[in-house]
């Protein structure tokens, strides 16, 4: 479904991704963990070309994504949920959800709104359809952002630290929605520090360190018996 081949990324002199090779199968729930600055976010941002790799290849369904075709490839295949939600503040919740379906996916207003209400039900926020995002709590905004991603009905959703900007009390409501989604046949790539979530939903966990994937395996493997000393240190600090 997603395939990164020898992906390198430089920001100036900084080598943030070093020959990353990673494959994500259809319907797989992949969790990427690692310390900050390890290249986790850059890795997922290369998957939808928010960052263009300095070298290497990214394939979606066997087709290489390039600067030229990225808009259409992303539109048809990939949605994203951001750390800072990035809802459109000048639009109501409903309009946030219907904008792309109407303007990009050629849905009628009625179809788009039905779709929007359906996914508002999924995230449990139907009653917020007509308010502006700024009136919602962080957790609610992130649930709306997830609903917006779902409205595109793509097979892949990328989550870039979806709970890192949230108050501790609201983290769980967002995780609950993601756990619910994980039961569907959606391919999910999630950058997160939430180990409970990883243990519960991940098919596979990869650990990144200084721009490289240094260990990967099932959640059990990670939590029971990680091989790499760096991984052990990290998990020791993060699991309470």
């Amino acid at each position: 479904m997603i395939k990164l081949v020898n992906v390198n990324k430089f920001f100036g002199d900084l080598h943030v991704l070093k020959d990353v090779n990673l494959e994500v199968a259809e319907g797989e729930k992949l969790v990427i963990i690692g310390p900050s600055g390890s290249g986790k976010s850059t890795t997922v941002r290369c998957m939808n070309f928010l960052e263009e790799p300095t070298s290497g290849h990214v394939y979606i369904n066997g087709k290489e994504i390039t600067n030229k075709n990225k808009t259409k490839m992303v539109r048809d295949n990939i949605s994203m949920v951001f750390q800072q939600f990035n809802l459109y503040p000048h639009l109501t919740v409903l309009k946030n959800l219907t904008l792309a379906p109407m303007k990009l996916h050629h849905k009628s207003k009625k179809e788009a709104e039905e779709l929007a209400y359906h996914y508002l039900d999924v995230v449990g926020l139907r009653d917020k359809a007509h308010v502006y995002p700024s009136t919602l709590s962080g957790g609610q905004q992130q649930r709306i952002a997830i609903a917006r991603a779902l409205c595109a009905q793509t097979k892949i959703i990328l989550f870039d630290e979806p709970t890192s900007a949230l108050d501790p009390e609201t983290i769980q409501e967002v995780l609950d929605v993601m756990i619910k989604l994980a039961k569907e046949n959606i391919t999910m790539v999630v950058v997160t520090h939430e180990m409970g979530f990883a243990r519960q939903v991940a098919d596979r966990v990869v650990f990144m360190h200084r721009g490289e994937i240094i260990e990967e395996g099932t959640p059990e493997h990670f939590f029971v018996n990680p091989e790499n000393e760096r991984v052990r240190q990290f998990l020791g600090k993060i699991i309470r």
Binding site: K72, V74, S79, F82, N86, L87, Y88, A100, S134, S137
Partner: protein
């Protein structure tokens, strides 16, 4: 003779009132067409200044810096006399429209650039992540958010444009200032300096004051709305 209290002088201005109205009309006409040109250039170069292409950004930069760092009078003279001596005179009206349009356009493009750059990067990323092309992103997501930042300084530029029509005097224009000057120095009409310039100034004021007022009103109401939103957001966070 030219005194403020001379009934004679005021009577002269009144007799020749059509001169002032004609000047006003010419000023408004020039400003209007120049405004259209300035808007077009401002939008074009403002978008170029924020786009991904280094070359386009460079071109926009050169335009803005060249225009903003040379006097409008010089640009006007250059356009008028350089072309006139090359035998391709555009006429004063067209020269005025182009010079004022190009000049104001540079300032408008800076206003638009600043407006676009004030939008958080996450908004652009969200649009890209949904598969919006540049045009759709700008139209549906970025510009609707930046318009409220753009509008007040934009109106100020319109006011400047109207006042700057006075520079047409240097190439012998028919704008309000030029006609006022002809009036006070004319063989038959000369002398009524104080009343003439007062009337001329009043006409400018009548046009420009409501516009400036509109700009500051806009700004204030935007600040108010922002405050209300912040309060609402804070209340939501509490609840």
């Amino acid at each position: 003779m030219s005194g403020l209290l001379s009934a004679d002088a005021w009577a002269k201005v009144w007799t020749y009132r059509s001169t002032f109205l004609l000047g006003l009309l010419n000023t408004v006409e020039t400003a209007l067409f120049a405004l259209i040109l300035a808007f077009a250039l401002g939008i074009l170069f403002g978008l170029m200044a924020t786009c991904g292409s280094k070359i386009l950004r460079g071109i926009a930069r050169v335009y803005v810096e060249l225009i903003q760092n040379t006097p409008l009078l010089l640009q006007l003279c250059f356009l008028y006399y350089a072309l006139a001596f090359a035998g391709k005179s555009l006429g004063i009206l067209v020269t005025g429209i182009i010079a004022l349009g190009v000049y104001t356009g540079a300032y408008m493009s800076e206003v638009i650039r600043a407006g676009i750059q004030s939008i958080p990067k996450g908004q652009f990323e969200a649009a890209h992540s949904q598969g919006f092309h540049y045009g759709g992103m700008m139209y549906h997501i970025i510009l609707p958010q930046s318009i409220k930042i753009i509008l007040p300084p934009m109106v100020n530029q319109v006011v400047n444009l109207i006042k700057n029509t006075s520079c047409l005097y240097i190439v012998g224009g028919a704008d309000l200032i030029s006609l006022t000057y002809s009036f006070v120095t004319g063989a038959n009409t000369g002398g009524a300096y104080a009343p003439a310039y007062l009337v001329s100034g009043l006409l400018f004021f009548i046009i420009c004051f409501p516009l400036s007022n509109l700009a500051s009103k806009w700004e204030n109401s935007l600040k108010m709305r922002e405050k209300e939103r912040a309060v609402a957001a804070a209340a939501a966070a509490e609840g």
